[in-house]
Symmetry: C2
Subunit: 157 residues, 2 copies
C-alpha cells in the first residue's frame, strides 16, 4: 500500500497499516481460537506458506505475538499473544458480532459465545466505560488530541 496521507490522523490508520491486509487478522482469529503452531495456521486457513511466514514475522515484529521454541519439542515454534496482542480481542468480537447480525443467513450465527464471568450467553457491545451505555456513531464528537499532527490539521467539515 502506498503510504496514505491520513490527513486527519487517527489511530485507525496506524492499526490498519499493521492489520489491514487479507490474512493478518485471520491469523489472529485462529490464535484467539487457540492455534499456536505454524502448521495449524496453515491447515486451518489454507494460506500460502511464504505469506504465513511473512505475516507471523510482522506480528512478532509489531509485538502482537511472541515467538518461542517449544521446550517439549525443539522443532516446534510456539506463537502466543502478548498483552498488546490479546487486547485485540475487542476488535475480534466487534467483527464477529457485526457478522453474526448482518451476514448470517436464516440459520443464525455459526458460533455461540458464553460469558463465563456472568454465566450468560455473550452479546458483545461497545459501551462507554463511564456510563456503560451502548455507543452509537452520532453520539460521539471529536476533538484533536495531544498526538494530533498540528501541521496537517484542518477545519471540521
Amino acid at each position: 500500500m502506498k503510504k496514505n496521507k491520513d490527513h486527519r490522523t487517527c489511530s485507525v490508520g496506524r492499526v490498519l497499516e499493521i492489520l489491514g491486509d487479507r490474512w493478518t487478522f485471520m491469523i489472529l482469529r485462529e490464535a484467539f481460537f487457540g492455534v499456536r503452531y505454524y502448521d495449524q495456521f496453515q491447515a486451518n486457513l489454507g494460506i500460502a506458506s511464504n505469506i504465513l511466514s511473512d505475516r507471523l514475522k510482522s506480528l512478532v515484529k509489531n509485538g502482537i505475538l511472541n515467538k518461542k521454541k517449544d521446550p517439549e519439542d525443539a522443532r516446534r515454534v510456539v506463537y502466543r499473544f502478548s498483552q498488546k496482542g490479546v487486547e485485540l480481542y475487542s476488535v475480534t468480537l466487534a467483527l464477529m458480532r457485526w457478522g453474526d447480525k448482518w451476514l448470517s443467513g436464516e440459520e443464525g450465527p455459526p458460533l455461540r459465545l458464553h460469558h463465563k464471568t456472568c454465566g450468560h450467553d455473550l452479546e458483545p457491545m461497545m459501551c462507554c466505560a463511564h456510563c456503560r451505555e451502548e455507543i452509537r456513531a452520532f453520539d460521539v464528537s471529536y476533538e484533536s488530541g495531544p498526538g494530533q499532527d498540528k501541521s496537517e490539521e484542518e477545519e471540521a467539515d
Copy 2:
C-alpha cells in the same frame, strides 16, 4: 485472496472477505468522519482512483454504503451509510481504542472522543450486554451455533 478453508467457521472470516483489504476500512473510517464524496475520499486517503471506485462499488454491493445522486448538483454522487454500515462503528472504535493505547507515542492519541450522551470523554470498552463487565478473551467459551457447517465441524483442540 484465495477462498480460505475457514474450517472453524465463524463470522469474522465472512466479515474480512468484505472488509479485509488495505483500503476498504480506511474508506469507512473517512465516512465515519463525515466524508460523503468521491473526491474527498481520494484527497484524504491518497488512494488510486480505480481502486477507490472498485471499493465503493463493493461497499454498495454489500449494502454497507448507499449511493445516490446529490439533488443539489447532479454531477455529485453521495455515499452514505446504511444501518448495516453505520453499525460497523463499534469495529472502528475497537480499532481506534487499541491503536490509541498501543500505537500512540509519548504524545498520546491523535484524537479525543467525547460522549454526548453522558457528557464525559469517551473511553470505548467491549462489554457484555448482560452484565456490562468488560470482556476479556479468557472469559469467553465457544459452542457451535445454529449456522455452523456440521460437515466441517471438528473436536476442540
